[in-house]
Symmetry: D2
Subunit: 387 residues, 4 copies
């Protein structure tokens, strides 16, 4: 029997100034295994309906609550299989919670919410509903990042001693928010972005590298946050020291005022027996260092024998055909898709352990502890369990 | 009025061992502007129909001739808008000619055909039918390659003096054709691949860089072709000197036995006033050298002010979000899509000057002259007009 | 009249396990403008005399005090022109102070001393004696680092907002000090290395980048220092946040347990109008980023027109002839040599503003403040003036 | 007993416009094991004497013949141990032959002579005199190039199938010879440079990589040489296909009109079991590729365990301290020095197999065959034994 395409819903991402709606749609469509079924793509109901029509969604809704209600009313063989949430941070929890409550899985943009409390409430619902949940830490979708996780797990570098994780950008080095940039406007607004600007938007990715790649979490944090560009309410530069649960140390740094920096995020995980490094600017490579040995450079490609079976299905092409940002994002959609299919008994590759609801909460815990630390001049602040 | 999705047909690309069917489908689907309408995806009719069903094509056909006939019989508001041809080289000309003859545009894999004669016949039909025609020199779809073309045209490096173009691979360094690799099998078979193995498969891309980026063509060629791995009928290593129509010199080199090489194709165009270099391994960068000046490194990103209006629509994302192979291929589909839409009076960006039927013929002329030269030990052989 | 070679003295650097004696001798000799005149190369008097003989010093001494006394007794036309100090940290101040007191200039290894108090005493003597004094922050001898300083001074990147400076190594990831490594032994010993191990040995270089390149200094510091490898008295991993005197923020990080890291120290200086980055692994390049412009990569070479006159004499070769670590070190010797010659009225290029006694004291102030901060869990500690 | 410094002579290299005199002097002096003893540094006798005085040579001579005669007249314990020849190409054979004839070893700049006949005569004398002889293919002095040779010898990449060797420059892209550049003037003059300009000056280095690294030689060559810049008698762009003695193929390319190219010479040696690549721009790295394995990147450093004993003495510093062009050149001086010392029974490391007189002749044979081929439009021409 023919496998059907998955039905995907989307909240947000339909405005002219939207940044991540289009890449999510590409990620959903590119693998010919899912379709755009239901959309509540803008906050204005009329615009939302028009956008859904314009963007070829099968069903348009005027609001996310309509969407959830409408889909919930449909039968299992008709309603959406999961919901993609691409709204600004303050509008994640609402639709996520509502979707989970009616048994619909969620792929949600990061950071999960605007406060830790909100994240915890969402967590409770999601746990209760037992729905699949993926947080869009897109960089964990790069196969070489996944390979790094595999290697650390397999003990390739021994006990982890230190981690550096970073995410530099330069696009907010001037007051873009005054120039009509919608992307800039909500990101510098505490009401919409949450407790942290730079830390929340991209420091969150850097911190998640620590959790995802090394399987560790911060227990204490000492953070410095600064609004470098005058007149901003939120940080546009973020740096934190962290103590991890195995006693290792970590630095998490992120900036939005680093002119010329082009999202070259990455990590360096230093163990007692070796080091692993990955950086976005050379996303198809993973470097492995061992004392007194040549550097081993692993390169991406579905045909490389060293790619483990757990990662191979996430590579579409053999070596030498770079799969970039869209494919990384599409890999997160693969994970929720394969989870959904697997639960139904359909044949599907085993989904990888991509960031889920626990990571979403943990990142919020890390952010709130960082904000508390920064307010006290960098005093060490405990990160609640889950951080 | 809502813009409809383009209807795309596909010939070939449906087998389990097919390499390029899937990336073309991703390229077609990812931008949410086209759909898989008609497919004749395998040579066996029953398998072809099953594959079309399996891969969500709206209409399956048992053969390409059925497809052309079936689509031709439909009205303008229903039949496919263009045909993608992803078969081995010997099966390009048939469907391409048939499609053109009934007024359907074509995006065809390279090299265009297996002989120059065949290419010329196809050219005549396409010219006569005045249908859009794109040859899938995928690397010309990378925006930084397009920018290089723009820069040369704008005189940035002065008169071109020398061009180096290259394409190294290592996957045929051992006898993959004996290990059940379908990709290897047809590529080493003269009946299916044509007059040249390595030269045709990837030397063609290198040569096209000369035409596309510099707007020049070979008038004479001195080539060396070798079957390094014993027992092969076709070349697995290719190198040529060429004299270009403006008097400049060029080298075109390609290899399939270069172990460790991962499609790091590229070009270096040397002018009297500067040099431009691009390489696939760093596809998001274009380097510009001028004597006694710092190197200028242009990076890809829709938000960079130096990206000209003719190229901007081909960039989906702002800086720092790498768009790789699939997006480059999708850009060729954009070109034919926008050509089709433009001709119908729909609003669409101006299509870029991607390789078309003339380039397809020219590459075949270059290949046949190269083969003739190599047979005579590298004697200089004229490349017929169009080379 | 023929210019004579400068007469150079050396204290330390003659033992079998000595690391920096040999590179200093190469740096002194390579430019054919100076000679090895007087040496007290080891702590044991007999070995010191033997080493001086073995290493072709004109005059051997049994101790640094003998050397200073002996040279002081000679006439101006015979005694050494400056003294190079290559001993472990605890043996810098003695010979440096003695040399200065008798009017002999000094090129001293870093960090200047083992305590700030010691540094201040030395400063007083040097100021009083008005002798030339250079601290061997070798990386400031790389012409592209010098060019970065020039560019910041010239306002190329506007007001500095943030600086990242780093120095990673991996050689102390295991207990080398137990394996008979002399280099390791004294560096992990507080009595010989001073208040900080990793911070003093290499964090000092990173911090000096901030002073040298940006002309800024830390006013407050929050530091984290850790002995990662069990059983060490001093830090082998160091990280600090600093607040600079113009209000900018900085991070200074250094590690000796970062397996695979090969001294790839460097800096990223982020201004309101652009960014400059240099890293040791690509020492012949300086990258300049400006929003919405291609990256400008300046490359080293005496023939490049963009090299200012103040730097050109420090480049020995035209472009494409990499001058590495020895030449960088030799450039510091050039600075003291040209200072000496200039003061005598000999013709010599104008010496560059390489790190001197003030920098030496400032680095010690930074280190002591960092230690104090680290002891209090990263509390912010003021850096005394001079930091 | 104390080892004495070696006494080194030099012919040429003393003029204001001289390029290679100074680096050779640095190479001789930097290791504190040799001294500048006898110099005939300019063609005008008075200037030659003045230059020797100015540059601290112990003995000045008015001409190379005076130098040879003068030194020959001295006793073994006084005369120079070897002669460095840094003149333009037409003035190599004279002093080299004379020195050899009186039993003095020679380190000679490349190419060896201006004709193959001249090279053969010199070869006969050198063979007869059994003196040490090194040809200054400086790039073979880089330890990672030496390691490549070792690896190929040890069978790491299996039978060599193909070699690419290259040397691009851009400094003659305009008529520097009209702007008073001495370096340019003699290099474009057949009387001084010999049969080939670009091929002789730098193509020679590229070809020597094939001999040195792979231990192979050209048996046939098909070459293209061009004077791109109008009005030149000699080639400023060179490219050749070669057939090697084991049946492998090779390309040798060199250019002087490649704007922006900074001596990024290198090689890629492709075997049946792997590939080795080195390039000057990343001189401290050697890359080793094996199918289906991570790339192994070997880095330079005296402390790396994988550096064989035959190469270790040529590394002065541990990892992370880049030794560049001067050290590579100094390594060739080490080879002749250690050969001289070894022959005398002094303790010295075993000299490496750096290019000698046979290589010098072989390169000339390759060049003359290339010129003959280029004159006949690239016809295949046999390279005489020795090529």
């Amino acid at each position: 029997m023919k496998r059907r395409k998955l039905r995907v819903g989307m909240v947000g991402g339909g405005g002219g100034g939207s940044f991540f709606g289009a890449p999510h749609r590409r990620a959903i469509l590119m693998d010919n295994s899912a379709e755009l079924t239901a959309g509540a793509l803008r906050s204005d109901p009329a615009e939302a309906l028009a956008a859904a029509e314009e963007l070829f969604f099968e069903r348009g809704y005027g609001s996310w609550s309509d969407l959830i209600a409408g889909e919930a009313a449909r039968g299992d063989d008709d309603r959406i299989d999961y919901l993609t949430i691409v709204t600004p941070n303050d509008a994640h929890a609402g639709p996520a919670e509502a979707a989970a409550a009616v048994g619909i899985g969620v792929l949600c943009e990061k950071p999960l919410t605007i406060t830790l409390d909100e994240a915890r409430r969402l967590y409770a619902v999601v746990q209760d509903a037992e729905v699949p949940f993926v947080v869009a830490h897109t960089y964990t979708g790069y196969p070489m990042v996944m390979l790094a996780r595999r290697f650390v797990r397999d003990g390739l570098i021994g006990e982890v001693r230190k981690i550096e994780a970073w995410y530099p950008q330069g696009w907010l080095a001037s007051r873009r928010e005054d120039e009509g940039s919608k992307q800039a406007s909500w990101r510098v607004d505490p009401a919409r972005a949450g407790v942290s600007g730079c830390g929340g938007d991209i420091g969150s990715h850097a911190y998640e590298f620590i959790r995802f790649v090394a399987g560790l979490r911060a227990v204490r944090v000492s953070a410095r946050m600064k609004s470098v560009v005058p007149g901003r309410a939120l940080d546009d530069d973020f740096a934190a020291f962290a103590e991890l649960d195995n006693g290792a140390i970590a630095t998490v740094s992120a900036s939005q005022i680093d002119i010329g920096a082009e999202n070259d995020n990455g990590f360096r995980v230093i163990g007692a027996a070796g080091t692993l490094q990955w950086r976005h600017a050379r996303f198809a490579r993973l470097e492995h260092f061992v004392a007194d040995r040549p550097v081993a450079v692993y390169r991406a490609g579905a045909d490389y024998g060293y790619v483990p079976e757990s990662i191979r299905p996430y590579l579409r092409m053999p070596q030498g055909h770079p799969e970039g940002f869209h494919e990384a994002l599409a890999n997160l959609h693969r994970t929720i898709e394969w989870t959904v299919r697997g639960r139904r008994g359909e044949e599907a590759p085993r989904p990888f352990e991509h960031p889920g609801i626990v990571d979403g909460v943990a990142v919020m815990a890390f952010l709130e502890a960082s904000v508390a630390s920064a307010r006290e001049g960098g005093a060490w602040v405990d990160v609640p369990f889950g951080g």
